[in-house]
């Protein structure tokens, strides 16, 4: 037996099931799907010296048009014949539409051939198969694609069922396990898509239907018909199984648009971007995924390209949000030449990775937060926003500006806040009752610093400040504490620092911090 034939007779496959979605005359339907199917139509290949018919619809076939005949002859047989060239772009779009529709039903899908999908129905109860198939048929019909759907216990039987549906002219054909032989008795041999030699042999034996062939003994078939006969016998008896080569979801996450004209202005470009984003978002939504980043590629008339990956703070499929993300980038981008093509791709999300903790608090809307940050940066500057974090240094006042965490750790939250999350009423929190988790305890009033400090003249008595004079504040010192000496960075040439701090209370003014750096006195800030 050939290696390609894989027999899998062991095990109970009563619950397994497959569907084959078959789009008849796929290439023709891809081109004609928006123009209706009420007229005879054919696709022709006019790249050769003599133009010939590649495929035609049923109306054209009734007038005697068939694949392979010259186009002139086809037009002579059917003067109303609508002739078109094949369109790879239309075929790609139609294939994605098929795939997108099928992903709305089950996740395991194989692109078996042009316009043919095989679906693994293991994720759905058998009782719902027929109804789901009808729903998919209607959805695709609304998009201009006429399909038939075959249901069976193996991929081969499902394909057979789809062929039977095509033959019988019905939408959905279900070849159930318990009535398989009975239904195969109704099907002619030609449906099995076997070679002409085998068909002739079987006809000579007097076999007219697939059911009759399936009733033969396997040994007799093997002795007389060899591998081809055994393969057909295994297919018909539901013993030929194969794993599906599953289609990747990423195929759905990309869209391409070639402009019919050169786009020089931003507005028409944004219009197309918005439309493409909406289509992509709708398509991806059916897969249960979302986008974590948008890749876009602009191709210019002078051959140059502009590619950019725009990351999203959180997976989303909100078309408005995605459009703002792309348009925000394009607003700042200078187009030096006309745009001729646009390609957009969504980076799919991993739903598990975005699972939030049960009680942890976090940003309600990360997208909105990112937008707010962008706008604030435009107002105050890029380096003036952040969540303050202490740095590993003794130099006073240094801090880093870290991004605000999207999730707040639960350890510093009060039990009241957790109770609130559990639906219990919250009670007021006393600041002092909070856990002193990270960092040393902080006492006393806060220091409010003057960023550059004010040069100050300090009158001393016995080395102790007596009076302070500066452009900011002046007064008599009524109480003092200090000095506290600190220094550092002496191991870095030119960065050494040394200071002596005094806390002084000025009469009727407040509490201030004075710093003596050796060369001068500075008023560094005040306590509040």
């Amino acid at each position: 037996m050939r290696n390609a034939i894989r027999e899998d007779q062991v095990g109970d496959h009563a619950l397994s099931g497959y569907a084959v979605v078959w789009c008849r005359d796929f290439r023709l339907q891809a081109v004609k799907r928006r123009r209706g199917s009420g007229e005879p139509a054919a696709l022709v290949d006019d790249t050769q010296r003599q133009s010939i018919v590649l495929c035609c619809n049923a109306l054209a076939a009734r007038s005697g048009v068939e694949p392979g005949i010259p186009t002139v002859q086809a037009l002579a047989r059917c003067p109303q014949l609508q002739v078109d060239r094949p369109s790879p772009a239309a075929e790609l779009a139609a294939a994605r539409m098929l795939l997108e529709g099928a992903f709305g039903w089950v996740p395991g899908i194989e692109e078996t051939g042009p316009g043919i999908l095989t679906l693994d129905l293991a994720t759905e109860p058998p009782a719902q198969w027929h109804e789901s198939a009808s729903r998919l048929h209607d959805r695709l019909a609304a998009l201009g694609l006429e399909v038939v759907i075959g249901l069976g216990e193996t991929p081969a039987l499902a394909r057979l069922a789809a062929q039977a549906a095509l033959h019988a002219g019905i939408e959905v054909w279900h070849l159930r396990r318990e009535e398989r032989l009975g239904k195969l008795d109704q099907l002619p041999l030609i449906i099995a898509e076997t070679g002409a030699n085998l068909n002739d042999k079987l006809r000579l034996w007097g076999l007219q239907t697939l059911g009759a062939f399936a009733r033969l003994r396997r040994e007799e078939v093997a002795a007389r018909l060899g591998d081809e006969g055994v393969e057909l016998w295994l297919r018909l008896t539901g013993r030929l199984r194969r794993p599906l080569r599953l289609a990747k979801l990423e195929q759905l996450f990309e869209a391409h648009h070639d402009f019919d004209y050169e786009v020089r202005e931003r507005d028409p470009l944004l219009f197309v971007v918005q439309r493409v984003l909406e289509q992509l978002a709708g398509r991806v939504a059916q897969t249960g995924r979302a986008a974590t980043a948008v890749h876009f590629l602009l191709t210019f008339a002078d051959g140059a390209c502009h590619a950019k990956r725009l990351a999203l703070p959180e997976p989303t499929l909100d078309p408005g949000l995605l459009f703002r993300l792309v348009s925000g980038h394009l607003d700042a981008f200078e187009m030096k030449a006309a745009v001729v093509a646009l390609r957009l791709r969504f980076e799919p999300s991993d739903p598990v990775a975005s699972q939030k903790t049960l009680f942890g608090a976090g940003l309600k809307n990360r997208h909105h937060y990112e937008e707010t940050l962008k706008r604030l940066r435009k107002i105050v500057g890029n380096d003036r926003i952040g969540s303050p974090r202490p740095v590993d240094s003794h130099r006073p006042g240094l801090f880093d500006k870290a991004p605000l965490p999207a999730e707040l750790s639960d350890s510093h939250r009060s039990s009241q806040a957790r109770q609130r999350d559990c639906g219990r009423p919250a009670r007021p929190i006393l600041p002092g009752a909070l856990s002193q988790g990270a960092g040393p305890p902080v006492t006393g009033p806060t220091l409010r610093k003057y960023p550059l400090g004010f040069r100050t003249s300090v009158q001393l008595r016995d080395g102790i400040p007596l009076r302070v004079e500066s452009s900011r504040v002046s007064g008599v010192v009524t109480a003092w504490a200090g000095p506290w000496k600190s220094g550092g960075d002496w191991w870095h040439q030119g960065q050494q620092w040394e200071r002596r701090e005094w806390d002084v209370e000025l009469l009727n003014q407040g509490i201030f911090r004075l710093v003596e750096t050796g060369r001068e006195w500075l008023l560094e800030g005040y306590y509040d």
Binding site: A361, L363, K364, N365, H368, Y369, T372, R375, L376, I379, V380, R384, I385, S387, P388, P390, P396, G397, L398, K401, L404, P405, L408, S409, H412, R413, S414, Q416, A417, R420, P428, I429, P431, G432, Q436, G437, A438, G439, P441, V442, T443, G444, P445, T446, L447, R448, K449, Y450, V473, A479, A481, D503, V504, E505, Q509, G510, I511, Y526, Y527, D528
Partner: protein, 230 residues
Amino acid sequence: MSVIGKSKSEALDSLRKQLGRQIKSGTVLLQEREQKTIRLVTGLDGLNASLGGGLPQGQLTEIIGRGPSRGGGVIMAALLSGARSEGRYVMLLDIGAGFSIGSFPEKDLESLLWVSCDSARQAVEALDVATRDENFPLFLLDGRDCDPSDWNSVRAQQWYRILNQLRQREAVAVIFARSEVTSATKHRLELVSRLALDDLHQERETILSRTRFQPLRRVVEEQEEQLRVG
């Protein structure tokens, strides 16, 4: 004609009487709304008492310290700490970049977004943008180093827009300043106590318990009185 006119005027009088019983006046509506305002309980007894239970959501609140060392910074730190324990994010709009990281417990900084602003006008512009974001229920505008005249550069309509946005998001904005900032503020408190050098080593709860607030006359009441006088 006169008969019709008489019946009309009687009908109008009757309608007015009925409406007068059913429709509330603007003052009554304002009072009712005031009573229904949801408040953010701060845990600071003095502040809560002065504000009628806590910081009113959807409102601007001014805390005024006429000079340094009145305790405004301690209140700010307490609000920050309370927000962190409740798992809420806080945005601090710091006019003059006087923020001193050593004055705040490290744990409280996790939920703080610090925005350094050059001027009152820039800070209010940033607040205008930020209050549209539902992620922040509490905004602290630190204008303690602002010259009182700086606030004049802010247009009144911008304050009212901010107020409207706060109402929509049920957020709270607290302004720390040296003097009155805007008439859009409904609650204004003055810090009347002073800190002494000994307080540098006191626990913050002790300082807060000694901090005294003087509720200034509420703006709404002022406006109503002006209307009455007018």
